[in-house]
């Protein structure tokens, strides 16, 4: 199998398999979570909770000042790599073309050198989070295989994309194939690791906010 075969596989059957496993896993997870249900709250609600639920989804996305002071590295690098990852994902033209070909939606792209710079910043932030996780005794103790797996499959697409663009290590064709395969690996492990937080985060925040309101607590 040569590099072109690998690229064609990753753009064809590989992508189909990865998207299939991703959607299967995510739908399964959401049904599973939803069917756990909640116990009926017999106490009368203080206030209606839905607005509070939606509000909390946003307020909890802003760092709490006290918590930020306790672990500034985690907050700073965490925000940088999340935002950087999504800028690279959503504003590089080839990525927009992919989204357009699947969904029909499209928007203007950022100039490639800008995305390139953001990719570098994202990579650095991700490396710092890993070093911090390994160096800090408490974080190291709390870390499981799943944490390192989630980090790896997030890091690889950015790294391989950067390497493909700059023709590092391998020829572009092979590197592009590896880049697409790394994204497919991300999609495959996504539903079965803590990466599901991309979706469940909003569910749990809404749940928390709604619960606060029922109890009469400010969200």
């Amino acid at each position: 199998m040569n590099a072109m075969d690998l690229l064609l596989w990753s753009r064809g059957p590989g992508l189909g398999i990865a998207i299939g496993i991703f959607l299967f896993g995510m739908v399964l997870r959401l049904f599973e979570i939803y069917s756990l249900g909640r116990k009926r709250d017999l106490a009368p609600a203080r206030t209606g909770g839905e607005g509070s639920g939606w509000r909390t989804m946003f307020t909890r996305s802003v760092p709490d000042r006290a918590q930020f002071k306790r672990s500034p590295v985690v907050f700073t690098t965490g925000y940088i790599f999340h935002i950087g990852f999504f800028i690279v994902l959503l504003f590089l033209l080839p990525h927009i073309e992919l989204i357009r070909s699947i969904s029909g939606l499209s928007w203007p792209a950022l100039p490639t050198p800008v995305v390139d710079l953001i990719a570098v910043i994202t990579l650095i932030a991700l490396i710092v989070t890993l070093i911090y996780r390994i160096m800090d005794p408490v974080r190291r103790l709390l870390s499981t295989f799943g944490d390192y797996l989630a980090w790896t499959v997030t890091f690889l697409p950015v790294l391989t994309g950067y390497m493909a663009y700059h023709h590092l290590l391998f020829d572009y064709t092979l590197m592009l194939a590896l880049h697409i395969l790394s994204v497919e690996l991300l999609l495959v492990v996504f539903p079965f690791t803590k990466l599901t937080h991309m979706v469940t985060l909003f569910i749990s925040r809404w749940y928390n906010g709604e619960w606060f309101a029922r109890k009469g607590v400010a969200s």
């Binding site: 049904f31 599973e32 939803y34 069917s35 073309e97 070909s101």
Partner: protein, 361 residues
């Protein structure tokens, strides 16, 4: 005539020594050789005695031959072709039928072990290769016979190099490339649909000068011509970096000559010399004429999805797999949810209340 040197032939054709040296210098620079090597190329090429070349055409469209012979003006490249002893070529030779086959056999016998074998077209293997025969001989048999006495083989065009169009899915004739059949001879792939004439003459000049095949990449192509991608050498590349793209073939972007990535250009994954050598005597090349690169010098370029869809898009629809996955996921989710509820109900039913009396035991 056979003993005449290449330089003699060219002189007889009215090519000056100066013109010949210019060709040698250009060839040396295209092959990324140091400038001083131009003299050596000239010396070696000048002394070459009409090497015997046998050209076999298998499952092909004659586009490669057309590309190499139909220059608008007689170029020095085409004269180089006149200067080699092209002993067998379906399209170009005057002889036909058994006389043609005799010429091939005669040439093979006379120059056994020394002739250069050029092949265009792929070789069908399915059903004992009945899909393409010449004078009742299957392509497979003819290739094996001719390759046995060849000093080296040049696979001209993508069909001979990688199977090309006949190899495209579902490959009804079981077409394969030369390198999948011949394993014991040096093979140089000069892919392209068709290949660039200057690239082929460059490869021939290299072989004639040094008596060895040039540096090849992992797909058997000379690195000097196929070392860089179309995208990296494209004059529209700055527009890619600036994010300026033609969205259709007749919009403002297309008129301004912006990047053709969105229109399906395969330049980033295609290795060829089009962007630097150009076509038709340096007149233009596909991207300059406003059409994206098809990737014709790469294996399986016919199976890479639409020529007009961006490189980063799926080559086959994913909606079917996606819908099936959602349905199966939902069904599995409901089943697991019900199982969880049953476990919960069973635990509730098996629950025993502890009383004060139990604790005092």
């Amino acid at each position: 005539m056979r003993d005449e040197t290449l330089l003699d032939t060219l002189k007889r054709r009215g090519i000056s020594r100066r013109g010949f040296l210019k060709f040698c210098a250009t060839t040396a620079s295209m092959l990324a050789l140091p400038p001083a090597m131009a003299a050596e190329v000239a010396a070696a090429l000048g002394k070459v005695r009409r090497p015997a070349v046998i050209w076999l055409s298998f499952q092909e469209c004659t586009g490669c031959t057309e590309s190499l012979t139909r220059a608008h003006s007689p170029s020095i490249e085409s004269l180089i072709f006149d200067a080699i002893s092209l002993d067998y070529h379906h399209t170009l030779q005057a002889a036909s039928g058994h006389a043609a086959e005799e010429a091939r056999e005669h040439s093979m016998k006379q120059d056994w072990g020394n002739y250069l074998l050029l092949v265009d077209g792929s070789i069908p293997l399915k059903d004992d290769g009945v899909y393409s025969t010449i004078a009742g001989i299957s392509n497979l048999q003819m290739l094996k016979d001719a390759a046995a006495g060849a000093a080296a083989i040049v696979s001209v065009g993508t069909c001979a190099a990688y199977g090309g169009l006949p190899h495209a899915n579902p490959n009804p004739t079981g077409a394969v490339s030369v390198s999948e059949i011949i394993k014991d001879k040096p093979i140089i792939n000069v892919p392209g649909c068709p290949p660039i004439p200057a690239v082929l003459t460059g490869v021939l000049a290299h072989y004639l000068t040094f008596g060895a095949i040039p540096d090849l990449d992992d797909l058997g192509r000379p690195k000097a011509f196929f070392g860089e991608s179309i995208h990296d050498r494209c004059y529209r590349r700055p527009f890619y970096d600036q994010g300026k793209f033609a969205k259709t073939f007749d919009d403002e972007g297309a008129r301004n000559g912006w990047c053709l990535f969105e229109l399906g250009c395969k330049g980033p994954t295609t290795h060829n010399a089009c962007a630097t050598t150009k076509w038709n005597g340096g007149t233009s090349w596909p991207v300059q004429s406003g059409h994206g690169c098809l990737g014709c010098s790469e294996p399986d370029f016919w199976d890479g999805g639409s020529f007009y869809k961006a490189l980063s898009t799926p080559i086959s629809p994913v909606t079917g797999a996606a819908a099936a996955a959602v349905a199966i996921g939902a069904a599995a989710g409901v089943a697991i949810g019900l199982a969880n509820r049953q476990t919960k109900a069973a635990a509730k039913a098996a629950h025993q209340k502890a009383t004060i009396a139990d604790l005092e035991k």
